[in-house]
Structure formats: C-alpha cells, structure tokens
Symmetry: C2
Subunit: 196 residues, 2 copies
Amino acid sequence: MPSNARERLLTAAERLFYEEGIRAVGVERILSESGVGRASFYRHFPSKDDLVVEVLRRRDAAWRSWLTDTVEASPRGTDDLALALFDGLAERFAAADFRGCAFINTMVEEADPASPAHRVAAEHKEKVIEYLDGLLAAAGYRGHRTLAGQLALLGDGAIVAALRERTTDAAPRARAVAEALLATAEREEHLPLPDC
Amino acid sequence: MPSNARERLLTAAERLFYEEGIRAVGVERILSESGVGRASFYRHFPSKDDLVVEVLRRRDAAWRSWLTDTVEASPRGTDDLALALFDGLAERFAAADFRGCAFINTMVEEADPASPAHRVAAEHKEKVIEYLDGLLAAAGYRGHRTLAGQLALLGDGAIVAALRERTTDAAPRARAVAEALLATAEREEHLPLPDC
DNA sequence: CAGAGATGGAACCGATCGGTACCAAACAGC
DNA sequence: GCTGTTTGGTACCGATCGGTTCCATCTCTG
C-alpha cells in the first residue's frame, strides 16, 4: 500500500518543479511544502534525481491519459480527431499556472541527453507521437508517421509560443496550420482523382 | 574601446550557458574557462544576472543578423523567402553542440516572466516575428502577421523536435508544413479567381 | 622611465546545496 | 498493552553558490 509521505512528496514536487523549475527548487522547499521530514524523504527516494524521475513518470502517465480522454471526448468526426489536441491545448494555455511543457522544460534543464530525467522526458514525446500516429493511421492518412511528427511539432511550437506570449492565441494559430496540413495530406488517400 | 577581459567573459559565458544551462554554470566555471580573475569579473558586471542579460543581447543580435544573411543569400524567389529559414535551421541542427534555442532555454530556466533575462528572450522572438512579417508582407501575403506567427511557431517546434530526437529530420518536416501553409495562404492574395 | 589603470590570484564571507545520522513521538498489528 | 515500523524535527556534514576584499603584477600612456 502506498505511503502517505511518499504521495505528499510527489504531489508537492510535481507542482514546484513545474512552477519554478527542477534546479530552482531545493529539497528544503519540497520538505517544508509537503510537511515531510528530511529523513522520511531519503527513506523513500535515494536522491533528489530519483524523485525527479518518478515525478516525470507520473506526469507522463497523467498527461497521456488526459490526451486520450480529450480526443475520445471530442465531438468531431474520426477524420480530424487529432485536431482535438489543439483545442485541449487551448484550455491548458489558459491555466493561471501554465508554464509550458514539463517535459520540454526538463530536457532544457537537464542538458545531458543521457541523464535519466532527460531520457524520460524524451520518451514521453515519443509515446505521444506513437499515439497520434495510431489515430492518423486509423483515419486513413497515407504518411501517418510523418504526419504525426508534424502534429507533435505543431503542438510543441504552440506550447513554446504560449509560454512566450502568455495568451491562448497560439492554440488556434497552430490548429489552423494543422488543418491546412491535414487538408493537403488527406487528398493523397481519400481523393486520388483530380478535382479540377 | 572594448575590454579584453570583458570580451573573454562574454564569449566563455555564452558557450557555457548554451551548452550546460544558465543555472548549471557557476561563476567559478566562467572564470576558469575564460582565464579572468574573480575581481575583474565583478568590475565589468555588477552580478551574474547582468552577464546573462548581456550574453543574451549579443546572441540576439548575432542570431537575427544570421537570419537576415541566410534569407538574403537564399537562391529562392521572393515568394518563399521565409522558407529559407528552415534550410538554415537544418544546418544549425547538425552542429555537434546543438542544444536547442538559447532563448527558449532561457525562458524555461528563468521561470519568472518579469525577470530581465526572460524578457530579453521573449523580446528576441518578437523581433524575429516582426522580421518574418516584413518578408511576408513584401511578398504580398494577406494575413502576413498571423502567418509570421505561424512560421515562428513552426520554427520553434522544429527546434524542440530536433533537441528531442537529435537529428536534422525536424527541419525538412517543418519545412513541408510551412510550404503547405504558404500554399493555401498565398491563394487568397495572388489567385482571387477560382481555378476550377 | 614613471605613473595610472586594468588585470589575475587567492582568501574570505554568509547562504544554500544535496545528503546523513540521530531522536522522540505517533502509529500500526498482535 | 506491548512491539516494531513509520513518521517529523533537528543538528550536522562537505561542497558549492554568488559576491566582497585585498594585493601583486602587468600593460599601456605620457
């Protein structure tokens, strides 16, 4: 059964790491905000780095389940299910504590690509792309793998833009690009015959 | 006349900040790698933060002049000058020390949007978008301002993707999206008459 | 050559970093 | 009620953080 202290540590650390950055938050802050004793912390996690990795793993799971829920709850047709991504992002951009993508931020803060935290963050993006790839393949798009990478690229670009200008404008802006992209890509599969 | 020590500090700091991150590099590292004495450092810069801001200012100027050179040296026609951006990015992605966009990284590391470093980084992106806007307006695109934001979004998305997968593949992938985007946008201005 | 300003080196400062050791209280299951 | 585990609190550790101070040396100018 899960420990109480461990749970409080993870939730406090997740919030603090996202709001202020991994390196910017010391162990002392996590302890005081979670109410956990210093010894208890190191009983549950060998080091701060291990806490970071565990926080990222949980956030990866939570984020991807949010993505699938958002897509499945979308009232759209099956053709442009992936576009629901950008409407979902718009909600995220509006959050008061929005500070970009936790995984992009981790890859920036943990510069070494071989570091555990960096790898977990990179693998998260891979899994998101695989999921999008599945959606696009099911919708019958020809170059679905490339298309999935392009949609993820648009999503990340929108997140960066939202972080920079601190508005939700980037979401519909990226959505429009995605629509233009899917409109041209769709033709290859669904409209092989010239229409003019 | 420019001080020798100051110049060495700025070049060493720029490299170290980009390779390892701003917070990850202490003053000691900058001193040892630049060969500048501790006292000399604080004679030239009131604090480390001031050095960070000055490094960003110089990188902003250098990056934007690189952008204009890249665009002007492009063999393309005036219509898709902006696409030269992505070919230029591909070269950057291939660099051995590529570690994303220094300004995105700064906005991630310096979480407070009001901090001087964060603001300089955000303003850099604004200036890039203004430049792209000018290019698109000159080429006769109708919604050139929105289009400029979308191209910048694609550029940032490509940079993030390149940081994640550590290949140059993201550049042509983003370029293809930009071409699809400009292809649909161009019609509004240059082809007001239906072609079928 | 003489003087002035800039320089590099090192000692030192308080604060904070991640991590360890120890302890008394709270808690559980029997 | 008693035992054994988990808990929060605190003191402490060496290392490093950004920053100050002093000094001997170097270089450039007059």
